[in-house]
């Protein structure tokens, strides 16, 4: 019976591997903008963004601690993580779960509303986050123009 189940799994596995061929690159139509505390004047690259949100880059150029927060509205969150951190949402959640369950990190701060993100970034030195690109932020936070490298 176990061998029959193994064969069944094999067939399913092979069939699903064919699906891989037809996967098209997930185009995330939602645009996001990255925002930082107004006191941060560093030039920021896409690589920096990736390293910051993976907890690998922890300081700005002036040694100020980086405090990143996640905006968890599903579409914006997914678009940001896919395009900037280059992971799927599932992989990104597991990345931080791994840190939590091995003690090497704590879950990032998360907000479900753009206004909460802006408020946090505005009042926290060294803070960085992201929000939908159509959200107007006035001058309470600085919108980042990213360098390619």
């Amino acid at each position: 019976m176990i061998i029959r189940m193994f064969r069944f799994y094999c067939i399913l596995f092979i069939l699903n591997c064919f699906r891989i061929v037809f996967i098209s690159s997930c185009a995330h139509a939602i645009d996001v903008k990255v925002i930082v505390h107004p006191g941060i004047q560093d030039a920021i690259s896409v690589n920096d963004i990736r390293n910051i949100f993976l907890g690998k880059k922890t300081q700005w150029n002036n040694n100020q601690r980086i405090r990143f927060v996640l905006f968890t509205e599903e579409k914006t969150y997914q678009a940001f993580i896919t395009n900037y951190v280059q992971k799927t949402l599932y992989q990104y959640r597991n990345y931080w779960r791994k840190k939590v369950f091995t003690g090497t990190g704590m879950m990032p701060i998360m907000f479900s509303k753009s206004a909460q993100c802006i408020d946090f970034v505005n009042r926290t030195k060294g803070a960085i986050s992201f929000i939908p690109s159509n959200y107007i932020v006035s001058n309470r936070v600085r919108e980042v123009i990213l360098n390619e490298q």
Binding site: N47, K57, K98, V100, F101, T104, M106
Partner: protein
């Protein structure tokens, strides 16, 4: 009122399921997380890790951790862990990790306390079922070795450096000591040689890990190694073992010197597909001596040369369904991969193909089904198979895990 360890485990499971709202418990800067899992194993021939030929539920674990952030770059935390897999664990609660973590700069940080050993791709997360596709990791992470390479007490220096064009380099260097319980999985491994370990004493332990993330999206590769000496006192066990496992003599000292476990690994993520491969080697000198006064002669001196590797692929089909497979090989003596010096010869290898399905019922609840086809008896414990080890085994596993 006396409550058995099993009852305590299920009580903990019940409390966790009732009291959590499937989210982490977070109070300001204090975070509490945990998981609990229950599995079922059944095999057609040999018993693997437990009494699987008649089906067993002795396959569960649970953990709870608490962490507090004092500053953005300083936190402390602790995790308690308990498990039962066959005769190992038996729901004894252990401190899985407990340390203070200070990240001075990106390039350097320090951890002090009991720290998970960063070994290969998945050693640190080997107990955390919801972080992977498979129920059983390949034999590179053989369950019996958990007690030896899971965690150690000491200091960890870690960091990472971002090169302009070469990508990102991460490192970890640990120095400290390692405590191994006499009733650990390693003892079970020694039982196959007819020894009943009464105490373990491990000296200085060093380990290191270097991972490179080149500027190729989704690729990481690296190397890790553990170096330690291990001493153990053993009694000759009276288990009815087959003759080829027996070593005759009085009580023994078992000494493993310059024992080095190293792994080379590579992982490539292509959107929802993850390919991984690891090659692990064990090298060291095993000396077994009699302990009786005046009888210090060496009974046996054996060079250890064990190799293992696997290739795996996982694919996340939808938000709730994932599947994966691997092929793995383990040679207890890499200089005799065909088992020519063993009787029967198939004790000289363990080859395994596994296929797994994972269903994420919610973000916090997963159900997995997994089938293994195994060839060879190198990882089949004779004490689990007193009537002898057969060459081929099919194993089916189910596991339900909840995390918060």
């Amino acid at each position: 009122m006396i409550i058995s360890r099993s009852s305590r485990f299920y009580l903990l499971l019940l409390i966790v399921l009732i009291t959590t709202d499937a989210n982490a418990l977070t109070y300001e800067k204090i975070h509490i997380h945990g998981f609990v899992s229950q599995g079922y194993m059944v095999s057609d021939h040999n018993n693997y890790l437990a009494d699987t030929s008649s089906g067993t539920l002795e396959f569960n674990d649970a953990a709870i951790n608490i962490s507090r952030q004092f500053y953005p770059n300083f936190h402390i935390g602790c995790q308690l862990y308990t498990r039962d897999i066959g005769n190992v664990g038996n729901h004894k609660v252990e401190i899985d990790w407990a340390f203070a973590d200070y990240r001075m700069t990106d390039l350097i940080g320090f951890r002090l306390g009991k720290i998970k050993i960063p070994h290969g791709l998945y050693n640190e997360t080997r107990d955390i079922d919801m972080l992977r596709t498979f129920i059983f990791l390949p034999p590179v992470y053989y369950d019996i070795s958990r007690s030896t390479i899971n965690a150690m007490n000491g200091i960890d220096i870690y960091g990472n450096y971002q090169f302009e064009t070469l990508g990102n380099l991460e490192y970890q260097i640990l120095n400290g000591v390692k405590r191994i319980e006499a009733d650990s999985g390693w003892s079970r491994y020694m039982e196959r040689r007819g020894m009943d370990i009464t105490s373990f004493d491990s000296d200085y332990v060093q380990c290191g890990k270097l991972t490179w993330y080149p500027n190729i999206e989704g690729l990481r590769l690296g190397v890790s190694g553990i170096l330690f000496d291990m001493n153990a006192d053993a009694e000759i066990d009276m288990l009815p073992l087959p003759p080829q496992y027996r070593i005759s003599g009085p009580d023994l000292e078992y000494r493993l010197r310059n024992f080095i476990v190293s792994v080379n690994y590579i992982e490539y993520t292509l959107r929802e597909i993850i390919f991984a491969a690891e090659y692990m080697t064990f090298r060291g000198d095993l000396a077994i001596k009699t302990l009786a006064p005046g009888l210090k002669q060496i009974v046996s001196e054996i060079p250890i040369k064990t190799d293992s590797f696997y290739l795996s692929m996982t694919y996340r089909l939808t938000d709730y369904l994932e599947m994966g497979g691997y092929y793995a090989v383990f040679w207890p003596d890499a200089s005799d991969t065909n088992g020519k010096t063993l009787l029967p010869n198939y004790l000289g290898w363990h080859k395994e193909a596994a296929l797994c399905f994972r269903f994420d019922i919610t973000n916090y609840l997963t159900l997995k089904g997994e089938t293994h086809l195994m060839d060879g008896g190198a990882l089949m414990m004779p004490q689990d198979n007193p009537e002898g080890v057969e060459q081929r085994t099919a194993l089916f596993l189910l596991k339900l895990a909840f995390s918060f």
